[in-house]
Amino acid sequence: MKTFPIKRGLALMVLAIAGLYPGTASAANTLVKSTGLEDETLFMILVIIAIFQSLAIVVIANVIKAVVSKSSLWSGTAGKAGAAVVTGLLLMVSLPSQAAETPDFDALVTMNDTAFIALVTLNLFLFAAFIYLVTKLNGLLNMIRQANGYELPETFITKLNEMLTDTVPIEREEEVEMDHEYDGIRELDNNLPPWWLWGFYFTIVFGVVYLINFHISGTGDLQIAEYEQEMEAAELAKKEFLATQENAIDENNLELLTDASALAAGESTFKLYCAPCHGESGGSNPGGVGPNLTDDYWIHGGGIADVFKTIKYGVPEKGMVSWQAQLSPNKMLQVASYIKSIRGTNPENAKEPQGELWEEAVPEAPAEEAVDSAAVELEITMAEE
């Protein structure tokens, strides 16, 4: 039974891959949402199913083991192979029980996505193993029956099999052998397998119904109608969601953020999306793609609302991308506020000024002092908190 380790390797690989990707939140989430189950309950149910399946496997494996060891049919290599299968399955069974006994139970529950995928995969695998063992056991019993001179009973399965395949057994295959051969290749003339033929008919009916549905009766939506519905539904869902939120920020009601955490969040967004064109420091660089954001010169206005609008809507003809489809209003405000906060930092190797000198509504202070006052303000807000 050389193949066995490979099969187990595959199983482990599937599990390993399942663990690799932490982002398939949607499957677990949808299930949790649609059934109204708690994360913990779902987790427990999966664990319990896994345990039950493991127990069932252990029981069947032991039955097989008993049959194999008592039956004279099995000796030598075959017996060893059977033992290998059983040992292997027992090994696998120990996997879920280990998982269940892990002391850090809460940690497992909270990492729900990975755990969910791993558990579902495990359950599917256990189920396959269970079915496999049941069929093996059946086969074994049949062999023993035959060896002891019993006729195999015609079961539902054998009848179904006959009906679906309509095949002439090998022993009688001369009956359907054709009277020719090509370079020694003979041909039988078995009937078309009925399951195959029905399947073929089904696909043809499917095709006709499909075409009628989409192109004759017009009951099915073609892609543009489908798209419009998708957009409407999304718009509605978004409105509903936003209604539950506090007033959304826009360029008319925004206020400059000055607290350190907001500016830090703005900075990290800036580093991710803005830095490629405007430089890590915000000063761009000579020959840089975007303008310097630390000086007093602005192409599209330097007020907080101006900066916010430039980020939100972009300036397509200048190459400034619109971010409103990518960043939430709050994130855009954080970035805009961060940009205001780096004014006058005079980074090294910055780009020359572009646009017009911008003057704040409040009297202009020299650049250095502006920084200081911003810092002071920051300290104050932090002290207040």
Binding site: G23, T24, L192, H215, G319, S322, Q326
Partner: protein
């Protein structure tokens, strides 16, 4: 009747066999390089002929036409002679077939990496090579047909039906998809534009899979499986039904590569339903292959040949079930443009074609060298490591496909894309790409061990160049059996069978293609869509030359997740001047259909920096750098000819425009150069990068022109 003595020509089979082995290893190594480049982009070495966009077409062409192509000829030349009890009709034609095919492969190696390409997937070879392929294919067909005519066997066996269908259909596909207008010795434009070009291309592309990778291999299966197992074929009538159903239905399924695109809905739906109907005919082949092994499964344990064939047929069954499922629009919405497609084709390629080829080689070498396989152990090693290789290749790719698709489509509650930065959805796949490369690598290890084993096998035997055989000639008159099956009559009349096959494969193509070409309502015109300027046209040719379409699509599907990311979905009327279309089939990078549109538009300097080194503008990007575009001068010597050629193809450039085209080009180039200079980038207007920037900035602009005018 007196027996005639004659010889089978094993010499020609040996030639094709060696070529199959060599190009198998080479083509797969090129594929491995491409796979590794997605993990370690520096493996492109910033060298033009080693970039992914040029290496990937080399890989696909090499494995399809060099590896499988030689494999087809190898198996056909061996089995055809024996099934017809005659030597090949002409040794000269056989040898022309062999050497001509190898010259074509060399021509591919000498053109594709150097940017000579038509830009149509799996049909990238330029027009002189296309003509050579056509002639060579006729040589092959003529030799086969004449051999059939001179046969000593009254009826032709099912394998030969498949060979004949392969010959006629590949000829039709190749000729019609290769209609192109030459501009120079190694540059041409596709005769069709946009939607029509896409339809013809995927009619071809899909049926290249059907009639180059499938039908000839089914023929080989019908010969080698019963030979190796020494068992009768399971069902003669199944072979008749599935043969005719397969070739008739297959040809319709091409549009399933274009679901949710700007292709008319009715053509898409035909593609869907015929793909679903294709399951049974495909599985008919699988059943006849696997059930032939009834009563011989014990032999599978010992015979390397059968082991490979069983896995090959199983993989065939899996991918021909998966393919129709991926053709359902709701599944395709997830799978298309992702690595799922890559996983799917590699189940077919590595499993079906690869393993059936190796099974065949393990059968042929001991037979033709009159010896036993050198090492069963090595063959078993090859089998297991190859199977593992397929698994390690496919599973990560499925995973990558699901992952990326879900990330593309995920929205936050406030209606924003959860992963607005496309790059995030790519870097997420790095571990899967690494694992895929590992799977591919161990598969190749198996192939190399296999080739070594075959060499040692040949060494220990002595080659039987002309294998003696004897058979009676055909009697001049044939009296038919009583109560014989009606199809037997066709098997006596191979030429009639061939003509019927032509009819069967023509219907689907004609019904789909002709209305798309002729009925105007299929492609509603958009008045603001204008031809490319000469500079943009030159830029587009650079885009094609660099193989950008291998990673970037230009087709925004009508999904919220795409219109939010890229802008308005693509319309059929936007592509009417695209010779060839560049919709692409895979998004390793983002869609570019609206790269110049208001939503995505970036400054010229962004593109300049990005092409020089993509990671400066998109940290973490796996796109290769294109420094030569910045250094190399644009070749303007053909600009006028290109304009004239485009006019011939129906692009409405005014009469005489070609004379002022270069001046027009230079003026536009100067504008971009000046703009770059403003941001401190010093370059000359005659550099290639300027043309490419012009093209990228034009993409998706046309349907916005009115809007832009308003907002200004």
């Amino acid at each position: 009747m007196e027996l005639e003595k004659f010889n089978y020509d094993n010499g020609i089979v040996r030639k094709f066999l060696i070529a199959t082995a060599i190009f198998g290893v080479v083509g797969m190594l090129v594929g491995l390089l491409a796979a590794l480049q997605l993990v370690f982009p520096s493996l492109g070495f910033a060298t033009d002929f080693l970039t992914f966009g040029r290496i990937r077409p080399l890989h696909t062409n090499a494995v399809i036409f060099a590896f499988v192509g030689n494999g087809i000829f190898c198996g056909v030349y061996y089995s055809l002679q024996r099934l017809l009890k005659t030597r090949m009709w002409s040794d000269l034609l056989s040898n022309i077939n062999f050497w001509g095919w190898q010259i074509i492969i060399v021509a591919a190696v000498l053109t594709l990496p150097f940017g000579y390409t038509t830009g149509k997937e799996y049909a990238e070879l330029e027009w002189p090579i296309d003509i050579a392929i056509t002639l060579l294919w006729v040589v092959f067909g003529l030799n086969m047909i004449m051999t059939i005519i001179n046969r000593r066997e009254r009826h032709i066996y099912v394998a030969i039906w498949f060979y004949l269908a392969t010959f006629v259909t590949v000829a039709i596909l190749h000729i019609f998809n290769s209609f192109e207008l030459p501009v120079s010795f190694l540059k041409s434009y596709s005769w069709y534009a946009g939607v029509q070009d896409a339809l013809v291309q995927w009619w071809y592309g899909h049926n290249a899979v059907a009639f180059f990778l499938t039908t000839p291999y089914l023929g080989l299966m019908y010969y080698f499986v019963p030979k190796a197992a020494n068992r009768p074929v399971y069902s003669y009538r199944l072979s008749i039904i599935h043969f005719w159903a397969l070739i008739f239905i297959y040809i319709w399924a091409g549009p399933h590569h274009l679901l949710y695109t700007a292709l008319p809905d009715w053509a898409q739906s035909l593609g869907v339903v015929f793909s679903i109907m294709l399951i049974a005919p495909s599985w008919g082949g699988m059943l006849n292959g696997l059930l032939t092994l009834r009563g011989a499964w014990d032999k599978v344990r010992d015979s390397a040949v059968l082991k490979f064939m069983v896995v090959a047929i199983t993989c065939y069954g899996m991918s021909t079930f998966e393919g129709p499922m991926m053709s359902l629009k709701n599944v395709n919405a997830i799978s298309h443009f992702t690595d799922w497609t890559i996983a799917h084709v590699h189940i077919g390629g590595l499993g079906w074609n690869g393993f059936l080829t190796f099974g065949m080689l393990y059968f042929l070498v001991p037979k033709m060298w009159g010896t036993k396989l050198y090492s069963t152990k090595m063959a078993n090693f090859h089998f297991w490591i190859g199977t593992l290789g397929i698994v390690f290749y496919a599973i990560p790719m499925y995973w990558a496909g699901f992952t990326q698709s879900l990330m593309w489509k995920e929205f936050t509650q406030d209606g924003l894309l959860a992963y607005p930065n496309f790059l995030e959805t790519v870097t997420q796949l790095a571990p899967m790409y690494a694992m895929r490369a590992f799977g591919g690598a161990i598969y190749i290890v198996g192939v190399i061990v296999g080739v070594y084993n075959l060499i040692l096998t040949a060494r220990q035997g002595s080659f039987i160049k002309d294998e003696a055989a004897e058979a009676a000639p055909l009697a001049p008159v044939y009296t038919r059996h009583k109560g014989e099956y009606w199809h037997r009559a066709l098997e006596r009349k191979p030429m009639v069978l061939m003509v019927l096959a032509i009819v069967a494969v023509s219907i689907g193509g004609l019904i789909e293609i002709i209305p798309t070409m002729l009925v105007k309502s299929n492609i509603p015109t958009i008045s603001s869509v204008k031809p490319y300027t000469p500079l943009e046209l030159e830029g587009r040719d650079i885009y094609i030359r660099e193989g950008c379409y291998n990673c970037h699509s230009q087709m925004i599907r009508p999904f919220r997740s795409e219109t939010e990311r890229y802008g308005e979905y693509s319309k059929a009327g936007e592509f009417v001047y695209d010779h060839p279309f560049q919709w692409g089939s895979k998004r390793t990078g983002p869609d570019l259909a609206r790269e110049g549109g208001s939503k995505l538009r970036k400054p010229n300097s962004w593109h300049y920096n990005h092409m020089y080194d993509p990671t400066t503008m998109s940290p973490g990007s796996i796109m290769p750098p294109y420094p030569w575009l910045i250094e190399d001068d644009l070749d303007m010597s053909m600009t006028a000819d290109k304009i004239s050629a485009m006019r011939t193809l129906g692009v409405p450039y005014p009469e005489g425009f070609e004379e002022t085209a270069v001046a027009d080009l230079q003026a536009q180039a100067q504008e971009i150069t000046d703009d770059l200079a403003e941001t401190g980038i010093e370059t000359a207007p005659n550099k290639e990068i300027i043309a490419l920037i012009a093209y990228l900035q034009r993409l998706g602009r046309d349907i916005e022109t009115t809007e832009v005018a308003e907002s200004n």
